[in-house]
């Protein structure tokens, strides 16, 4: 099972880091990061062996198995998750102690953070490696749960708790929708294994409903409009979390899902057009909000929404560059997040309006982040240039309107990236203490990778093609080309236009920023975030109201179970198509005794409702029991009748004994107060009775003619028992009888211990 080695190593990171953290808190990050690097090496070795699949049987009778794949797509995303993960964990080693000190928390809490980060990394590696719809969902939910814990890491801070809850509710709810889509596909194709699903989808395309469900799950994860608002709120998390989850890992998971499942989406043009529109919308919304946001992390969060909008557009257009786009974006965005984290640590401020001119105090950080920003803004000599090249390449084939939209989007990207970098490092000089080396080194490494990709694009071609052929081209070899062309082709012209637009927008920013901020502020009142808040508030009110209603009176608590159950039973009867639903049955003279006994039981039961004294009540209850014993005797069930008489006698004595134990005064008072029936109790009882009556009538009308009983009678002879009932109880259903005995023993033990307890009088 060589395919599992990187996954197992990734899964081992978190527990081993925890163990190391118990020994010495500072060691957790180093152990975790080195294991992540080991996993990365193992993965690299795996990838040289070529594509492979691994199927481990899980529940073969249900057709379920654990399926893993090693192809270009999983390789690309796993490398991204592991490498950025290792760097971010090292960065957290330097970031967390300061953060914990600010929050007045003990230093050993650092271990918890590393363990969670590494668990998230493992979940991400699992997600990109599995090749099965159900496992895909499981891994998706794992990332959701760990991200909830990570966003809410500052658990004393109500804002971060609320943000964690928001992201859990939103990504959890959308992943349930994804699950519904996966189940629909599983039922449609009779398998959850992705290669089989793709194979069968080639002849019968997946239903639009299922595809929309899958897309909703992916959009929620990738923070696309209309689910985008959880991402900026999630910036309440410590910066390493934002850097990892919200640039390279969790947000990428949504787009990854779409790429993994692209063979299903390829024939569904309508769904892809919808995704295209949402992608452009997310680009516009994210870019515009990034242009006016003041906190650095919010700028980056909105930029992430916009950038994943690009990726969504590429997927919707079926472009081969979609996996490359995500992979090129990740190091740039992660580096920028780590930069702003370092800036916040040394300056203590979180907003663009509070810092400026840091290039003098933090020259290395300024240089490295300039490279990352250039990558994000798609300037040449960085890997980012190629992400925009594939983007423009896809748009050129669609037509001028798409080209114009792409140009504006890329121009806005350059404008907000310049605004962010210049806001941090440009302008009037501000002197701050130097940043710790471990905070700067990961940024430098990421920036170096951004530069390397830009200078040697040939290195990227093979992985990008492998990823594309595993997803977007559905097995066909990809023809993606990455190179600089110094000619007037459309892609180059679009890129130049975008740079010009971005530069103009940046130069004139003071003129339009206040107006744009006002407009966006006004429209945000009608956005989906407002709807979410309203929904949460109303649900809260409903829950409080229900709780009040339930707790105030135990009777309502009982009725709230009984009445809906009764109504449910009636509904089931109503909708079930049954022929001869109700059979009245025949009554002969032989049944006379039976009917009389039944009438006696009914009369006694009705009389209990009117009983005044407790003794009368007990007598009436036992009268019901004895009448039923009579019924059983006439119904040719002597064993039951005998047992019933015995039980009723004991029970009556027990009850009378209880009455003797209870103080008379209290009994009399309770009795007076009890005689105040409410109308709704009568109503509940009526519903329950009618439902019980109709359900039993329907059940008794549909008895099978071929009973088990006839078989049992024959079998009893084999069991050498003249009494069939005894044979059933002690032999055929012996285990049930043992269970019954244990219930009786447990009840008796309970009775004796309760009576023996000394309590206050």
């Amino acid at each position: 099972m060589p395919l599992l080695l990187p996954i197992l190593l990734a899964l081992a990171c978190a527990p081993l880091a925890y163990v190391a953290g118990r020994w010495r808190p500072g060691a957790a990050a180093w152990v975790g990061a080195s294991l992540a690097v080991a996993s990365l090496v193992a993965l690299g070795w795996e990838l040289t062996l070529g594509p492979a699949r691994l199927v481990l049987p899980w529940a073969p009778t249900w057709g379920l198995s654990l399926e893993f794949t090693r192809d270009g797509l999983s390789g690309l995303y796993a490398v991204m998750a592991l490498s950025v993960g290792a760097l971010v964990v090292l960065y957290s080693r330097a970031y967390l102690p300061h953060h914990l000190e600010l929050k007045h928390r003990p230093a050993r809490d650092e271990v918890r953070f590393h363990v969670l980060m590494l668990s998230f990394m493992a979940a991400m590696v699992l997600l990109v490696t599995v090749d099965d719809l159900l496992l895909l969902f499981v891994a998706l939910d794992l990332t959701t749960i760990v991200s909830y814990l990570l966003i809410g890491y500052d658990r004393d801070d109500p804002e971060s708790r609320a943000a964690a809850l928001l992201s859990l509710v939103l990504t959890g709810a959308t992943s349930v929708v994804f699950f519904a889509g996966a189940m629909t596909l599983g039922l449609q194709y009779g398998t959850f294994s992705l290669p089989l699903v793709f194979e069968r989808a080639a002849t019968s395309p997946a239903s639009t409903g299922a595809l929309v469900c899958l897309a909703v799950g992916a959009l929620g994860k990738s923070a696309q409009v209309p689910f985008h608002f959880w991402l900026p709120r999630a910036m309440a998390a410590p910066t390493p979390v934002s850097s990892y989850l919200h640039s390279a890992a969790m947000v990428a998971a949504g787009v990854f899902l779409l790429q993994r499942l692209y063979p299903l989406f390829a024939p569904a043009v309508a769904v892809r057009d919808g995704l295209l529109a949402l992608g452009f919308l997310s680009m516009a919304v994210g870019s515009l909000l990034a242009l006016v946001a003041d906190p650095f992390k919010r700028v980056l969060a909105y930029s992430t929404i916009a950038q994943y909008g690009y990726a969504l557009v590429l997927v919707a257009l079926g472009s081969e560059g979609a996996p490359l786009y995500v992979a090129a974006h990740a190091p740039c965005k992660a580096a920028l997040f780590l930069t702003v984290g370092a800036v916040t640590q040394v300056t203590g401020s979180k907003k663009l309006s509070q810092v400026s001119g840091l290039r003098h105090s933090l020259p290395v950080l300024a240089g490295a982040s300039a490279v990352a920003a250039a990558g994000l803004a798609a300037l040449p000599l960085t890997v980012g240039f190629f992400k925009d090249e594939v983007f423009f390449h896809a748009l050129v084939q669609k037509g001028p309107a798409f080209m114009a939209a792409g140009l504006v989007g890329a121009g806005l990207t350059l404008a907000y990236t310049l605004r962010l970098w210049w806001g941090l490092f440009g302008g009037a000089r501000q002197d701050v203490p130097a940043a710790p080396r471990l905070l700067v080194a990961p940024v430098v490494v990421l920036a170096a990778s951004v530069l390397a990709g830009g200078l040697l694009p040939g290195l990227l071609v093979a992985p990008a093609r492998a990823a594309a052929s595993a997803s977007m081209t559905r097995g066909e070899p990809a023809t993606l080309e990455l190179a600089y062309h110094l000619d007037a082709r459309a892609e180059n012209l679009l890129a130049m236009g975008a740079w010009a637009l971005g530069a103009v927008l940046f130069a004139t920013r003071l003129a339009w920023t206040p107006g744009l901020a006002r407009v966006l502020d006004g429209t945000s009142r009608f956005g989906p975030e407002h709807g979410y808040r309203l929904l949460l508030h109303q649900l809260d009110r409903l829950s409080t109201w229900l709780h009040e209603l339930e707790v105030r009176d135990l009777r309502d608590r009982v009725a709230s179970v009984l009445v809906p159950t009764g109504l449910l039973g009636l509904t089931v009867l109503w909708v079930t198509p049954l022929r001869h639903r109700f059979i009245p049955g025949t009554v002969g003279w032989a049944d006379l005794t039976l009917v009389m006994a039944l009438a006696f039981a009914s009369a006694a039961a009705l009389a209990t409702l009117r009983a005044r004294g407790h003794l009368v009540l007990v007598m009436l209850i036992s009268c019901v029991g004895f009448s039923l014993a009579m019924v059983f005797a006439f119904a040719a069930a002597p064993d039951v009748a005998l047992t019933s008489v015995l039980v009723e006698t004991t029970f009556t004595l027990l009850f009378a004994g209880l009455l003797a134990l209870l103080p008379d005064r209290r009994l009399a008072r309770a009795q007076q107060e009890a005689q105040q029936p409410r109308d709704r109790d009568r109503f509940s009882a009526g519903i329950a009775g009618v439902s019980g009556f109709l359900l039993s009538w329907s059940a008794l009308s549909h008895l099978e003619a071929d009973r088990v009983g006839t078989q049992t009678v024959k079998l009893a002879e084999v069991a050498h028992s003249p009494n069939v009932v005894a044979a059933v109880l002690t032999d055929f259903r012996g285990l049930d009888t043992v269970g019954e005995m244990s219930v009786v023993v447990a009840a008796l033990l309970g009775v004796t211990s309760l009576l023996g307890l000394k309590g206050k009088r």
Partner: protein, 122 residues
């Protein structure tokens, strides 16, 4: 016969529910006894339409369904055990709280929660 049996089942069940919804614990216990009785009757009512002889069966004669009888027996015994436990609980509750009324119990419970949680009003 089917109609009559199911009518009685429904009636016993309705009376039981009505008693369970009372405010006083002794009656609640009585209500559960009635509900138990109704379910035993329902189980055995399956054998009413074609019941035969139970004792000294000649080969070939109609017999009452023995499976239903054994099920009913199990139900009766378990019902008895649970009712006995319930009655003891009624007794215990009365001793602990000094009341047989459910609303008093709720008040006491709310007060206890209030006291332990302190700051959070319920």
């Amino acid at each position: 016969m089917i109609l009559i049996a199911s009518l009685v089942v429904g009636l016993l069940f309705a009376c039981g529910v009505r008693m369970v919804l009372e405010r006083e614990l002794v009656r609640v216990a009585c209500g559960t006894v009635l509900i138990t009785n109704s379910s035993v009757l329902l189980i055995l009512a399956g054998s009413f339409p074609e019941r035969g002889e139970a004792v000294h069966v000649q080969p070939g004669w109609p017999v009452t369904d023995p499976v239903l009888q054994s099920l009913a027996l199990t139900a009766i015994v378990i019902g008895f055990a649970v009712s006995a436990l319930l009655l003891t609980l009624v007794h215990r509750t009365q001793r602990a709280h000094g009341s047989l009324r459910t609303d008093r119990l709720v008040e006491a419970e709310l007060k206890r929660v209030h006291d332990t949680e302190g700051e959070r009003p319920v």
